[in-house]
Amino acid sequence: MRKFKETGVVENVKIARDIYRLKIKIPDIVNSVEPGQFLNIYFQDSPKIFPRPFSIAGVDDNNILIIYKVVGSQTEKMSYWQKGFKIKVLAPLGNSFELDSENNVSYVLIAGGVGVAPLMFFRDRLFLMGITPYFFIGAKNRNELPIAEDTKSKLYLSTDDRSLGFAGNVVEHFKSMLGSIPKPVSVYACGPNQMNKAMAKLGIEQEMKLQVSLERVMACGLGICQGCTVKIKSATSDCHYSLVCKDGPVFKGEEIILTADER
């Protein structure tokens, strides 16, 4: 059940270039959040009015974690927040990643940049179930890689500028390794639009089971404003608009039709 809360910052640490991990105290919802869901952070007295959505990157005791990248004014403000700072949040929002219905699949997580956030939480869940997923993470360069090592997954890193790991983007990296991952695979992806698009295409080509977490600019995050639409094609109907904040953010790979003009 989603709740609107005034709460406090527990911790806000830099984990890579321009990337931070924020811990927020929200005891009454930590047990009900699912990987893939997001929360809204509200800002007061700013000429920018929209709340900002962030994926839930994990939970511990009484807290929710998010991992965010400074890309504009609100995320810059966030980077100055210190322990005890009061903020308003609404959580949890949206749907979540679905576990595969089969037992013997290889779970593969594909993250572009700060798209790792929801997949870290999903990895935690899988690990608790005794599953160690394959985790592909790509970034522009080594300084922007949100994590460097991981005990809960088989980690595969890549950088566009060849400064660490595989040289190239994360989709190419995954493609190059596909042959050595035991079939069948179940793939979960989150990243910039271009990466999501490439994954959706690959998913169809390879007939893989794929779930992708999408981003859209959101005004409400609640399913009210009808602003965050994405074109979807489902098995039962023709193309129609779905709301990323309510019907998503997680969609099946084969449902997604990302047209060129969509940001």
Binding site: C220, I224, C225, V230
Partner: protein, 304 residues
């Protein structure tokens, strides 16, 4: 206790002067887990059209200084599905239920009204003649006095329920549509709908919303709303329901001083879903501090 009861003509009374603005609160049920819907004097629903509408292609929204531009394009479930899926919630709702109606033609507006006026749980109608986001219908109804008076008369003949016309600020002189609707028998006018707005990406040179020009809302339009209400209040006697950028209790007082009998909360639901709680508390405080026994006493009291 301050008396917040608000009478909007002979056909509708509210327990307090705060309503929701169409398109910013769904049909009430979508947000009732977060906001206590009973705190409002009433709910104004998302615009309903005769047939469901998918709405405009994305991108549909963009954030602008102290506001946003939308080009949702009246995406809605249509009147049939509305009756099937949303009626149960609204029937047990204790506040007033005002259905916002939009159409392409007089015929469409009238058909919806005929269908809904039979429902005893519906307390009134708000007629959207001012949507900037549809290619046909919408705003022309509100900006051409002849078309507006025709439509208002037809709708008045079809219902004995509260009938309110929602006016557009995208006109040279708001007094003309305001007087027209009063003359044609409307119980109230609500104003303002969104203001024409646009924004361009300087890198791609592309408009930031698909329809190029959309509707601006939020705190940025509050002064425009206040100016229009001051003007309209000078020429009409029917109640004015003020809309436009209301964020806090102070804004509600300002709207009422300008001449509004009640107000609607819109875009604020996106950046402060619980604004209603703070606003009601402020109204109580403001009235008791200023020895105002009934909130209605301040309507139109600005010294303009």
């Amino acid at each position: 206790m301050i008396d917040l009861n608000t009478k909007l003509g002979n056909r509708l009374s509210l327990s307090n002067p705060i309503l929701t603005a169409s398109g910013t609160f769904g049909y009430g049920d979508e947000i009732s887990d977060i906001v206590d819907v009973e705190l409002y004097g009433g709910i104004v629903t998302k615009s309903l059209t005769l047939k469901p509408r998918e709405g405009n292609p994305p991108p549909r929204i963009v954030e602008t200084p102290s506001g946003m531009i939308n080009s949702i394009g009246l995406a809605n479930i249509g009147v049939d599905l509305f009756l099937e899926e949303k009626a149960d919630f609204l029937k047990i709702y204790r506040g007033k239920v005002i259905i916002n109606i939009a159409g392409r033609t007089d015929f469409e507006y009238c058909e919806i009204l005929k269908l809904l006026t039979e429902e005893n749980w519906i307390d009134g109608f708000e007629i959207n003649v001012s949507c900037p986001n549809v290619s046909e219908g919408g705003i022309e109804f509100g900006t051409d006095p002849k078309i507006l008076s025709n439509l208002t008369r037809k709708l008045r003949d079809l219902t004995d329920k509260f009938l309110m016309i929602k006016l557009s600020p995208n006109v040279t002189d708001i007094r003309i549509p305001a007087e027209t609707t009063q003359k044609c028998g409307a119980d109230a006018v609500s104003m303002i709908n969104t203001v024409y707005g646009s924004a361009i990406d300087i890198n791609t040179k592309k408009p930031l919303i698909n329809s190029v020009i959309g509707g601006l809302s939020g705190p940025a339009i509050k002064p425009i709303a206040i100016a229009n209400i001051i003007k309209a209040y000078q020429v009409i006697d029917i109640p004015i329901i003020g809309i436009g950028g209301i964020s806090r209790g102070e804004d509600v007082i300002e709207f009422m001083l300008a001449g509004a009998s009640a107000v609607q909360l819109g875009t604020v639901h996106f950046y402060n879903p619980l604004a209603i709680n703070e606003i009601l508390q402020f109204l109580e405080e403001y009235c008791s501090q200023n020895n105002i026994l009934s909130i209605g006493d301040i309507i139109g009291k600005a010294e303009v």
